[in-house]
């Protein structure tokens, strides 16, 4: 299967730096602004885009991402609209990989086959579905692979060497290492431990490894990026959106709040190269 993901990691590797993976919630704070943010991300320095599919009950997310999802839902976001956002994006950018991230129920209700068909047609490259561990691979992972969409699995500090092969078995695109036991937006306790863990996973797979959860600043990106093939930033971006709002509504500064942050993070991943 060829998606845009391997080519993009290869490009970043050729530049001798980790990829910057940015998470934004689709439709936050409203559909039009969300679309503008999405389309501004590549120029700001995002190498890979994770687009959040809002869900009413995001069990693995901290307050920042939860609030972003609630804003999107309150503005009327649906899975169908999220897919349409990708389709519109692809008319302008056919290189930047897009990974949809969220929870299983909205996909299950959309219908797995219908969803995969629509996602592929829209130009989606990968999926991260938090509540589908390898034990439930028959639900979506296997059909997604058959449809030519990468299924990117989370590995965590609790995924030991014994379990790792099962977790990696049907993983493709890249491996998302969750830097801590916790929810999105918490604080990384030990950078050294993250580096160790990435090394450990590298012993089991040739796939690129991106590290997420707890990366907020350019310095974080530079530090974590030294040990990994990519860094994922989500909560900080959701909080940047929040900080730009006026009474919950988008302002003239909303898109810029995100692009400024992403540009800074982008310089961070480029410093990771210099430091390495």
């Amino acid at each position: 299967m060829t998606t845009r993901i391997p080519a993009r990691f290869a490009k970043c590797a050729a530049e001798g730096r980790p990829a910057l993976v940015t998470f934004t919630m689709a439709g936050d704070p409203d559909l039009a602004t969300g679309q503008a943010i999405l389309e501004a991300l590549p120029a700001a320095g995002a190498d890979i885009i994770e687009l959040g599919m809002a869900f009413s009950d995001p069990m693995a997310d901290g307050p920042g991402v939860q609030a972003a999802g609630q804003r999107a839902l309150a503005a009327g976001q649906t899975l169908k609209k999220t897919l349409a956002m990708v389709e519109a994006f692809r008319k302008k950018d056919n290189d930047t990989p897009i990974v949809l991230m969220g929870y299983y129920n909205p996909i299950y209700i959309f219908g797995v086959d219908a969803f995969l068909e629509a996602a592929k047609a829209a130009g989606v490259d990968g999926l991260i579905v938090v509540d589908l561990p390898p034990e439930e691979d028959d639900e979506l992972c296997i059909p997604a692979l058959a449809a030519g969409i990468n299924f990117i699995r989370l590995t965590t500090p609790t995924t030991d060497d014994k379990r790792l092969p099962a977790v990696l078995r049907n993983t493709s695109g890249f491996v998302y290492y969750v830097s801590m036991t916790g929810i999105t937006g918490a604080t990384i306790k030990s950078h050294a431990a993250v580096g160790e863990a990435v090394k450990r996973i590298k012993g089991h797979t040739d796939l690129p490894i991106a590290v997420g959860f707890g990366i907020k600043t350019a310095d974080d990106a530079a530090t974590i990026g030294r040990d990994s093939d990519g860094v994922v930033v989500g909560t900080a971006i959701c909080n940047a959106v929040l900080g730009s709002l006026d009474n919950g509504k988008a302002t003239a500064g909303t898109v810029a709040a995100v692009t400024t942050l992403v540009a800074g993070l982008s310089s961070g991943v480029r410093r990771a190269k210099a430091a390495a």
């Binding site: 009950d57 693995a60 996909i107 299950y108 959309f110 439930e136 699995r153 379990r163 036991t181 916790g182």
Partner: protein, 406 residues
Amino acid sequence: MTATGANSLRNGPDEQGRFGLYGGRFVAETLMPLILDLEKAYREAQVDPEFQAEIKHLATHYVGRPSPLYFAERMTEHLGGAKVYFKREELNHTGSHKINNTLGQILLAKRMGKTRIIAETGAGQHGVATATVCAKFDLPCVVFMGATDVERQYPNVLRMKMLGAEVRPVTAGAGTLKDAMNEALRDWVTNVDTTYYLIGTAAGPHPYPEMVRNFQSIIGEEIKAQMQAENGKLPDAVVACVGGGSNAIGTFHAFLDDPSVKLYGAEAGGHGIEVENGHAASMTGGRPGVLHGNRTYLLQDADGQILEGHSISAGLDYPGVGPEHSYLHDTRRVTYAPITDKEALDAFQLCTRLEGIIPALESAHGLAQLMKVAPTMGKDETIVLCLSGRGDKDVESVGRYLGMNE
């Protein structure tokens, strides 16, 4: 549990934790190793005579089992049909069936070497039962409770605090049981090394639905033995209320392979099943989806977003239901029907006046269902209600509804 043949309804779940389409292990990877550990520890405990003996000893001397089976004579006369019996789970220590489960799970947590307990609670009955066993076994306890429920079940909040538990109000969503469970899961995913998540209902990822059911199955087993002793035969019908459904599955399980026994589950009909988002009857008014670790009937919109639902009863105010109930609903072994807030309030008052028993609002839903069924049955027939909890926690709220507080 003893398997009773290929066609038995009591064989579930399978190795993947499925009851037919329902159940499963839909959790984040961080939690996956934990629930596999839990399953392993539970399997070992199940066949350990010492573990079983300790549960039995505590059930007798701490909980007060067996709970009585009571012939409700005036209720029987009033309804004019089948003989009505109450299984008096509300007489258990802490005032509900919830202690059957918390006792089993706390012993398991001790076995696993866990040093911190978390729980979610709706009406506060499970929170109180968890805080109680944590006090007894000297373990720190954090209970997540929706802010709305903290307000409407305040007596239970005080009980939990007095028992030494920390009660954390959850303001997300409608501030009810669903939101409390989200927050408990977020805590668990953060504190994986030390913490045991003591789930209060027969839902969540495998093995919780099976494990909680097994700890609660004592209810139905006792009913069976007590009815045999009383009448020399099985009951003709058995009724229980269903939120997540732990008292109901515990009541029904012993009877699943006895086709002569009709089984009825009372769901929370709230303002009425026809009122959008105005009820919590997930089987009557929802459709299958995935939430909180399992596939089951859920109240949700066309985009798969979970609805908050509504019930006067905090314990039933949950948009899902345990996966085994979903299976029993599809196979039609159990008849699930919605009971409105008003019907439950009427049953609450009737039970109080006729029998001198103040039932929990949750159990009053079961009673309201019984009040529909019993009059259609013959006088030589029998019907049993699982009176799952006592209503002390509800007197203030009910007083307000009835305008008695002036």
